[in-house]
Symmetry: C2
Subunit: 409 residues, 2 copies
């Protein structure tokens, strides 16, 4: 997904950001870190490798009920960390100054009276394994060498993310969750929850996500990874250490190109036409150069630059690979309906008309499989022009759908 | 456009390639080279710079009528050179061995009895200025230094290409042409012909092309150029000379990534799903690596590798920039209908339903402008699933439309 701030540029923002003292904000937040695996009980990953230690960073909003039955897990997408709502009180400590200038990535939907109402639910959001926001990832030291893992970090999957969330809940003494919700890769985590832990979840909220990424999405990920690994500073993923000249350089050029492409896939032709059109920036006439001249160029340059400042290039490789690999049908030996038979909870599946990364017909396939397997499922296609980013921007439609769904659980 | 051979992979090929001795083939071909500008009469480009010398490479199929009134100019798209039909007899001399293994890029439509019937018409196809196939471009020596131009080559435009074609026709003694035809960037050259030389053309055939590239296309070009210029071997475009270690290295990694992205934009989600789907290649199970595992990855790797062997990275920059810049509306001071008022010839505009690079609604805008300006125009939307490449693959539909159009001129 796009950075929510960037996604707002040019979009008719449905609401202003809630300041921390707003009654609908979760206010100031702090991330927690919990060790969910150590040498004695390593995490067994889908790829077969054992990983330890594994620390998971998470944030929690709202109060855990005495029965510990009101948890909603909010699963992040590619760029999302644990900071999903409210205003970070520990951004400086965590070395993430950008978190001070805006609320968490799904603040529009998490808070008192919002879609995920923190006066009723305890919302928990954990950073992804393989990521760069506090949960174990390729930029962390490999205990066997003391140096950053780089590409020696094991491959991670959507299933592994769900596994880390489940282990985190074990540590918190939560057996069964009210719901798991997410958009994009987060939506695939919601699907996987219902398949991997059918007895532990009462409802899944799957936004702008399908049971597997379609081939066009695979293709875009290939190009993104090519751009990163071809960067002169990538050096096989070992860019955390100084180069031969003693200077640390990150493969920012490649990561920027990858992010530009990702960002394009989150927009729609319509939304990009509204946002930038073919307008020139800061000029009236063509400049006959390869410098940015069109607003599209300036816009992509801006969003990719700010992304590269706060993201790890290896993480981009790992998370897009997890996106490639995910296929819910493996739970049914390739048959999606058979897979869906495992599900015990109710499901809400929401797609967005102009989303070409996870197109409506793909999202609907999961809803249809659930239905064919006799499961409770609500499918909604929102007639949005915002592309994939719509799951962040169509706040009213998402709020209404989620509220009704959670109310009916 | 895709390489036509590659585009065929997985597509239901409408016909086999015609061997050189087939009655419907133009047979063996040789390229010609003509100097259209020299120091005494340089070419004035749209960017304002003067260029000399300028040699243009072209091929001609069919016989020029005594009245010199039966010429059809076929305008190449991004990757197309002068070799549009038949089998190259001079591939080795020209250093283009790949041309020996297949006929010209639009052989399906050029030849005796084909859409552009060489028993009636003399079809002329010239390589693009700024390209790398015999017409002046960034890999040619700059007469002021004796070294390859690189990025010191002037910016070129669709208008400049039409200008070089017109100068070539001057040299050949052809004042008025029967038609100009092309797909994609070639289609934009056809549009431009009708605007720049309204008195010199009787008909334009515009396939899979619009009056200006939509913002999503601009965005994809930004990423493609980023991938090239960020390649460690790009060196500011001066990659023709040996590097500090005395070895010549071309920015093939960046060019491959750019081409992958271009290729993706020529396909549709549907055609890629049919061609590759989510199938693994040469394996039954996921390999948990960043190596190519999906057919999509192998396919993109293959097509981009063969492209990088026969294309120049600087040319990719120049031609995509020309694609960005083109806007037929400048002939009407920004008003497309006013621009269309200049046109004196009949026009055929053909779009393809699943083309998301030049979407039908964009192509139709040009047809609508012609219509609003009171011009003769036929607009057809072909219900193809092949994406942008459909202009090469929907041979029957294109042939039928072109034949009827040329017959009515």
């Amino acid at each position: 997904m796009s950075d929510p701030i960037e996604a707002r540029v040019g979009a008719k923002a449905r609401r202003q950001y809630d300041p921390p003292d707003s009654p609908s904000s979760v206010g100031w937040t702090r991330a927690e870190r919990v060790r969910i695996a150590d040498a004695g009980s390593p995490l067994r990953l889908d790829c077969g490798r054992l990983l330890a230690p594994v620390d998971v960073e998470y944030e929690a909003y709202g109060t855990l009920s005495p029965e510990r039955d009101n948890v909603i897990v909010v699963a992040p997408a590619l760029s999302g960390g644990s900071h999903a709502a409210g205003w970070s009180a520990d951004a400086d400590e965590l070395g993430r100054p950008w978190e001070k200038t805006r609320p968490g990535w799904w603040d529009d939907c998490i808070g008192p009276g919002k879609a995920f109402d923190t006066t009723r639910y305890c919302v928990i959001s954990a950073s992804l394994l393989g990521g760069c926001y506090g949960t174990a990832g390729p930029s962390d030291p490999d205990p066997s060498t003391g140096k950053p893992y780089g590409l020696r970090f094991p491959m991670v999957t959507v299933g592994d993310w769900v596994e880390t969330q489940a282990r985190l809940l074990d540590k918190l003494g939560v057996e069964r969750i009210a719901a798991v919700a997410g958009g994009s890769l987060g939506g695939q985590q919601a699907i996987e929850w219902g398949l991997r832990f059918p007895g532990r979840v009462r409802g899944t909220v799957v936004l702008a996500a399908s049971a597997s990424l379609q081939p066009m999405g695979l293709a875009l990920n290939v190009v993104a990874r090519e751009a990163i690994t071809n960067d002169p500073d990538f050096r096989g993923g070992d860019f955390y250490e100084p180069g031969p000249d003693g200077i640390i350089r990150r493969p920012d050029g490649g990561l920027r190109a990858a992010r530009m492409l990702g960002h394009i896939s989150y927009l729609s032709a319509e939304s990009l036409a509204v946002k930038c059109g073919r307008r020139l920036q800061d000029r009236d006439e063509i400049g006959w150069s390869f410098e940015p001249e069109f607003q599209v160029e300036g816009y992509l340059s801006h969003v990719s630059r700010s992304f590269a400042e706060r993201f790890d290039a290896n993480t981009y490789l790992y998370i897009t690979r997890a996106m490639d690999y995910y296929d819910a049908a493996v739970w049914g030996d390739g048959d999606l309906v058979r897979a869906a038979e495992r599900v015990e909870c109710g499901s809400l599946v929401v797609s967005f008309r102009s989303d070409w990364l996870y197109p409506p017909e793909d999202c609907k396939r999961w809803a249809d499989a659930l239905s064919a397997a006799g499961k409770r499922v609500t499918y909604i296609e929102v007639p949005s022009t915002y592309g994939h980013d719509a799951f962040l921007l169509e706040v009213d439609a998402v709020t209404e759908a989620v509220r009704e769904f959670l109310g009916g659980l």
